[in-house]
């Protein structure tokens, strides 16, 4: 296989919107990729054929406890190097080429493999890291140090299928109709600053996180410098990557709820904080001060997938469109309303995601488990837009 001579992220600037969609079954029941494919296909003209992809949760129940790495290789040497590296740090239960289908519109695909692995117990213990941190570091090593190898996804019981092409073609190429997932997200790309290449397509992932994004973040460098301090290598120079790392930093490492992480990234304006009652204003001020560099600016709408469910967020000024609708246990998200109705004509509660207000949907069992843990972990739908973590100062006693 020859190494393709195309420019990478950061080497070219193409001034030019995107389509995103998500479908989730709160009950955890799994559905094939047919609906998400039709939903994203309807928004064909929001992308330009330079990138498409899908994230799917719950697709590997037989290997649910193992890390499922999807890796793209541009050369045989890259695969040899990456596999030698992984063999050193992981115990691999199974490895195979991801089944793909020849597609007239998909040109020069890389060699795409998946591995079901557990961290090598002794090396994990010797590293002094927990499993997630250990895995994260090895993902960064492969992406940064092994030329021609790119980890497309590295979570458990989930996977990302992405590449250069229109999303509907990419979906057929990967045969996503053959997978069953309780949550799907999809992206059709219209790259604005960077060329399209297989690794650069969305969703962007790390561990169980996946992010699809429509927009352009003007705070990219501030956010990048911030996450880099915590060991996140921004190899791809794209804004979506940095959003993924911000969620990992705030939610996984700092232990905040996903909703809180999103709230920090789209914090209320100082004008709004000034109008809040003093306790709340103090709380918000503390958040904005501590997490100043995690504030994300510029037009964006994102759907974040994780083992908990989906989270949708628009920038505070709502410079992008994102709609949501429901039907029974199903939740549908899409850049355009018609992309929801095409798969669920009788969808209910059709509405838009407001600017800066996180929309969180958890799987029922996750919500129930959280409800059982502690007061601050009640199901999100029971306390919309609020978050109490004991940080808020106690009410002042009136003298």
């Amino acid at each position: 296989m020859t190494r393709r001579n195309i420019p990478r992220e950061g080497e070219v600037r193409i001034p030019s919107g995107c389509a995103i969609a998500g479908i989730m079954d709160r009950s955890g029941a799994r559905h094939d990729g047919g609906d998400i494919l039709r939903s994203i296909a309807l928004m064909h003209d929001r992308s330009n054929g330079l990138g498409g992809g899908f994230a799917a949760y719950g697709i590997y129940p037989d290997y649910a406890d193992l890390y499922a790495f999807h890796i793209m290789y541009e050369s045989r040497e890259a695969r040899a190097a990456a596999e030698a590296y992984l063999e050193h740090f992981y115990l691999c239960e199974k490895q195979e080429r991801i089944p793909t289908e020849e597609h007239p519109a998909i040109k020069n695909p890389p060699d795409i493999w998946r591995y079901f692995m557990a961290p090598h117990p002794m090396r994990l213990a010797a590293s002094g890291l927990d499993e997630a941190e250990y895995t994260m570091q090895h993902v960064f090593h492969i992406n940064g140090k092994i030329e021609g190898a790119f980890v497309a996804s590295s979570g458990k019981d989930m996977g990302v299928f992405k590449g250069v092409g229109y999303p509907e073609d990419i979906g057929e190429f990967y045969r996503i109709g053959d997978y069953e997932a309780w949550a799907w997200t999809a992206h059709g790309r219209f790259p604005t600053n960077t060329p399209g290449w297989w690794g650069g397509a969305h969703p962007f992932t790390l561990l169980n996180w996946s992010v699809v994004h429509n927009g352009e973040i003007s705070s990219y460098d501030a956010n990048r410098r911030y996450v880099e301090q915590f060991g996140y290598d921004c190899e791809l120079q794209t804004d979506t990557e940095v959003i993924t790392y911000l969620f990992d930093l705030l939610a996984r490492r700092h232990g905040l709820s996903q909703q809180m992480a999103a709230h920090i990234m789209a914090a209320p304006s100082w004008r709004e904080i000034d109008a809040m009652e003093p306790d709340r204003a103090a709380f918000e001020t503390a958040l904005r001060t501590v997490y100043a560099s995690a504030l994300v600016n510029g037009p964006f709408s994102i759907i974040v997938g994780s083992e908990e469910g989906l989270l949708a967020l628009n920038d505070r000024l709502k410079l992008r469109a994102l709609m949501v609708a429901e039907k029974g246990p199903m939740v549908y998200l899409a850049s355009e309303q018609a992309a929801i109705q095409v798969v669920c004509p009788d969808a209910e509660n059709v509405r838009s995601i407001e600017g800066g207000v996180p929309f969180v949907v958890q799987r029922d069992d996750v919500a129930a488990a959280k409800a059982g843990e502690a007061a601050e972990n009640r199901a999100v739908r029971d306390w919309p837009l609020e978050h109490e973590v004991g940080v808020l100062p106690r009410k002042r006693r009136e003298a």
Binding site: K318, Q337, A338, Q341, V342, V350, G355
Partner: protein
């Protein structure tokens, strides 16, 4: 003069709602779009319009630019969800949507009427310079951004429900009527035109440079005409907006040149 123009525009909207093909049952043109690409879809619609004045468009699914630059005397009844930029550059034609609209309904429309029996997305009436948009339900953010007026041309948007934030942003002219509650930052950068509100904004929500007060006698004819047009269009679908126009509030720029001193040397 301007009031009369308004009544005229509002009259057109009523006419559009009343004479639209579907309502009248007189349609001779019919197009079913399904999953057709927008280029093909618009060609089909144009072809149908060449043979008749009123066309029913069925099963619309996100096709953009439907009714683009539709001239006076032509009308579209749309079932399904039309795509972005519905009725852009509309030039006197009438469009009725029996469902929801997406973003940028009536982008830069010049004349005519768009009636939506559901909700619509962001940036409705973007840079609109004439004609009327009537929406039964809510609208997204930035409705009426950069609306303008000139001489007898005064565009109008009537939203029966709530509006998202930045309603009438940079508004330079025209009329917006909101039956529900608007989001924050109403009229940011507004320097012309008027926003009529059924429910007044609390003082802290009134942006710098804007003045909110009860409508005056000079406002009532054009407000009443627009409310009547709304009630006429959606008569069978819920409680009327009209009633006593005198109880409404208006929001206007305190000065026609609020930024006149901003770049002064």
């Amino acid at each position: 003069m301007t009031d009369a123009t308004h009544t005229l525009d509002a009259g057109k909207a009523e006419a559009a709602a009343g004479t639209a093909a579907l309502a009248g049952g007189t349609a001779t043109g019919e197009v079913t779009l399904g999953l057709a690409h927008f280029k093909e879809a618009n060609e089909q619609v144009r072809k149908a319009l060449a043979g008749t004045d009123a066309v029913v468009v069925r099963d619309a699914n996100a096709q953009r630019y439907l009714g683009c630059a539709l001239p006076a005397g032509k009308s579209l009844d749309i079932l399904g969800t039309p795509g972005n930029d519905l009725g852009c550059y509309l030039d006197g034609g009438a469009i009725v949507v029996h469902g929801n609209g997406q973003d940028q309904v009536g982008n830069t429309m010049n004349d005519g009427a768009i009636v939506v029996h559901g909700r619509i997305g962001d940036a409705a009436g973007y840079a609109m310079r004439g004609g009327t948009i009537l929406v039964r339900g809510d609208c997204g953010w930035r409705a009426g951004i950069h609306m303008k007026e000139y001489a007898g041309k005064r565009p109008a948007i009537v939203i029966g429900g709530d509006a998202g934030a930045f309603l009438g942003e940079y508004m330079a002219g025209g009329v917006i009527v909101i039956g529900g509650t608007p989001g924050d930052y109403v009229g940011t950068g507004m320097h012309g035109g008027v926003i009529y509100l059924r429910h007044p904004l609390s003082t802290e929500r009134i942006m710098d440079g804007l003045i909110q007060e009860l409508v005056g006698d000079e406002d009532i004819p054009q407000l009443a005409a627009l409310l009547a047009a709304y009630d006429e269009a959606f008569a069978s679908e819920g409680p009327p907006l009209g009633g006593d126009p005198g109880s409404w509030y208006c929001l206007r720029a305190a000065s026609a040149r609020p930024y006149g001193g901003l770049y002064a040397h």
